[in-house]
Amino acid sequence: MKLTFALPAALLVMAAPAMAAAGPTDPQIAHIAYTAGSIDIAAGKQALARSHNKAVRGFAEEMVRDHKAVNDKALALVKKLHVTPEDNATSQALTKGAAAERAKLAKLSGAAFDREYVNNEVAYHKTVNGALENTLIPSAKNGELKSLLETGLTLFREHLAHAEMIAKGLT
């Protein structure tokens, strides 16, 4: 798990300073936030298709529900602002890492799957929350986008706490 996740985490950290010179633009920020949410929705759906653990399934349902709500809100916002989300190195790093993790999870089942899924959710939320807090929110220019990201960060901190609680129960 750590190896597969280490790649996007490292790329995210590398991409952030590169953007920090000028800072990521709002279209890039919107793309990163939407991509991060889509990845977690897909992971949640994968967990719902494979896990039989009640706590894990409840968490996966929460991820699908909450991240879909945030992404729907983000889509409505970019439409309202006439902003076209712009692909970038951070989004690509996230997508690449997610594909590797998805492939890894596809080979697992039962308790091994549950542990890998939840542990990755812990690592993933730590990475994304760090990026939100240190790079994306400070760089956002539009007030509504910034506000949405701030609400998202509060929400994702809840997700992280929930994932950590479940992870303890799985060890």
Partner: protein
């Protein structure tokens, strides 16, 4: 005698009107940006709380003592009657970091 009447009349004015004191109130508690807003300081059995979810996320107002559990889809407004006295801790069952306390006197 006239003075006594005047005193009685003045005293009567100072007494609370029972029906007005017992009239239940409705208070609004707003949920916004993953937080419960301020709750009423004076809350009595029979009063109502109108929970207003301004977030785009699904929330709930769920009592730790199981005395109420209000589901609040995005944008929902749900009214509930406060039944018993007590200090009631509540959370959002979907996001347990969101919490508050109702003090029913």
């Amino acid at each position: 005698m006239r003075t006594l009447y005047s005193l009685c009349a003045a005293a009567a004015l100072l007494l609370p009107v029972p029906s007005a004191a017992a009239a239940p109130h409705t208070y609004t508690v707003v949920i916004d940006k993953m937080k419960f807003g301020p709750v009423p300081a004076q809350l009595h059995p029979g009063d109502s709380i109108l929970w207003v979810n301004r977030d785009f996320l699904r929330h709930s107002a769920t009592a730790a003592d199981h005395s109420f559990d209000v589901d609040l889809p995005a944008g929902a407004k749900v009214k509930m009657v406060v039944k018993a006295k007590g200090r009631i801790n509540f959370v959002c069952r979907y996001h347990p970091g969101m919490r508050g306390v109702l003090n029913v006197q």
